[in-house]
Assembly symmetry: D2
Homo-oligomer: 152 residues x 4
């Protein structure tokens, strides 16, 4: 069962700031892109109509440690690992690497915890993960989460 | 009846890019802020539940001419003028000025045309302006729109 | 010589707004991505150190006509056409199409005019296009610009 | 000596996403706005030319816990507390409250750690806090940081 996913993207001009580097908030943009692509790779959507009622995934906790800056046109690999799977929430760990360094260098690590909710009349209520998602994913092996380094 | 509105805001760090100036897309952020504040000043909201069914204002045309860059912590005045009022659409003209120049200097002019729509089951349908908005605003005087300069 | 370029990307969650559609300002994000990828395809960078002094490309005019909304996970093709090539400026025309409609549907058309500048001590000065860029691109055929439709 | 700062702003349309709430990444936008306003209130700028060489403040760690969503036009108070002052870094704690709830409700708590760096030829090097900033701020009282609640 899948417990990881990798996405590669290139830094865009609009993502930089006057310090000449990627604005730190965009690292969450990158992590979200990897998360939605991961769910899509399972045949679903993060904003799914496949559950009844439809569910969403608001974040309850996010964090990021920045080790090295990213710059315009850098190639970034976002490596998602399923860190925790609870009844109504999923935590992902992320490792971001700059691929156009020699050798590639880890630039950041992040964590995102999303809770599964239904939206009824604008009210968010925590709800169990849809079975078709919960059944398909598993927590990544401990050594992978601890090391935080992709296996060769 | 109101035909203009002014909003002042300060350029934020996140709005800059690696060229050291405000990324051009943020000028639309500024214009949108002035537009929503204008509607709010009339006692309504751009995303109103005050109409039945609720209406929204997707853009059908926007443009901007950039004359001079904005930088971090500059003070910007966004001057909104009602340029056209149609049955189902409003056009706004915008003049943006940098107030912390001596004298203040016009940095950009923009145009935004928004159509009034209802959202029913995800489908957008053009609909007449809500009466409580249409009755309250009028088109700015021609000389103001032509000159594009705030009267002293 | 190249006069057009196509880029395909998928709408991201962060690009949507509470109306359930892509916020209109993101269409400029898409056009910028196509423009930088076009320049990159020529072997250069929009933020080039390959000229001496380095040059940048601030926008002097942008516009966009919106015909149909884009939604989360839609596939968008951004078709760039060189619309005008002046001594110190380039204009691009853009056609955006939603590829996951059957048949694909044009959702927007845009125009972006960028001026080539040097940045010296924070001052922007218009300067002729770098020869290695100017020599490589040409204006798209008139019928293509007029029709605004990709040739089959 | 100052150890806290409060900023109030209103949620903008562009900050919402298709879930109808503020996209979580914008909470960092709000915290950054409070941080730059705090530094400005001391007579300096987060992107200061007042130090020689100029210094910047890249983030090395950020986190946020989300308790309740924010929606369009909500009024948010961002309460900044100086949580730690090291030789070359500052940590801020943030409490975000929705003021237009009765009574106001805490919607999020964040932490941002920024390192003071010089930018020389594009290289970032950690450097001691400028004296004119370090001398002016102090760490907030422990009970304030622990309680995380503004004193009445």
């Amino acid at each position: 069962m899948p417990y990881e996913f990798k996405l590669v993207r290139r830094v865009e001009f609009i993502e930089t700031d006057m310090a000449g580097i990627v604005h730190y908030s965009n690292f969450f943009r990158y992590m979200e892109a990897a998360e939605t692509a991961f769910i899509r790779s399972l045949g679903f959507s993060i904003w799914t109509q496949q559950a009844e009622p439809p569910v969403g995934w608001p974040r309850v906790h996010v964090e990021c440690d920045y080790k090295s800056p990213l710059r315009f046109e850098d190639e970034v690999e976002i490596h998602l690992l399923v860190a925790e799977k609870k009844a109504k929430a999923i935590s992902y760990a992320f490792r971001l690497r700059k691929l156009n360094a020699h050798p590639p260098v880890e630039v950041a690590r992040g964590v995102v915890t999303a809770v599964c909710v239904t939206h009824v009349h604008g009210k968010l209520t925590a709800t169990p993960l849809p079975k078709f998602i919960a059944d398909q994913i598993e927590v990544a092996p401990k050594e992978l989460l601890d090391a935080g380094k992709p296996r060769a």
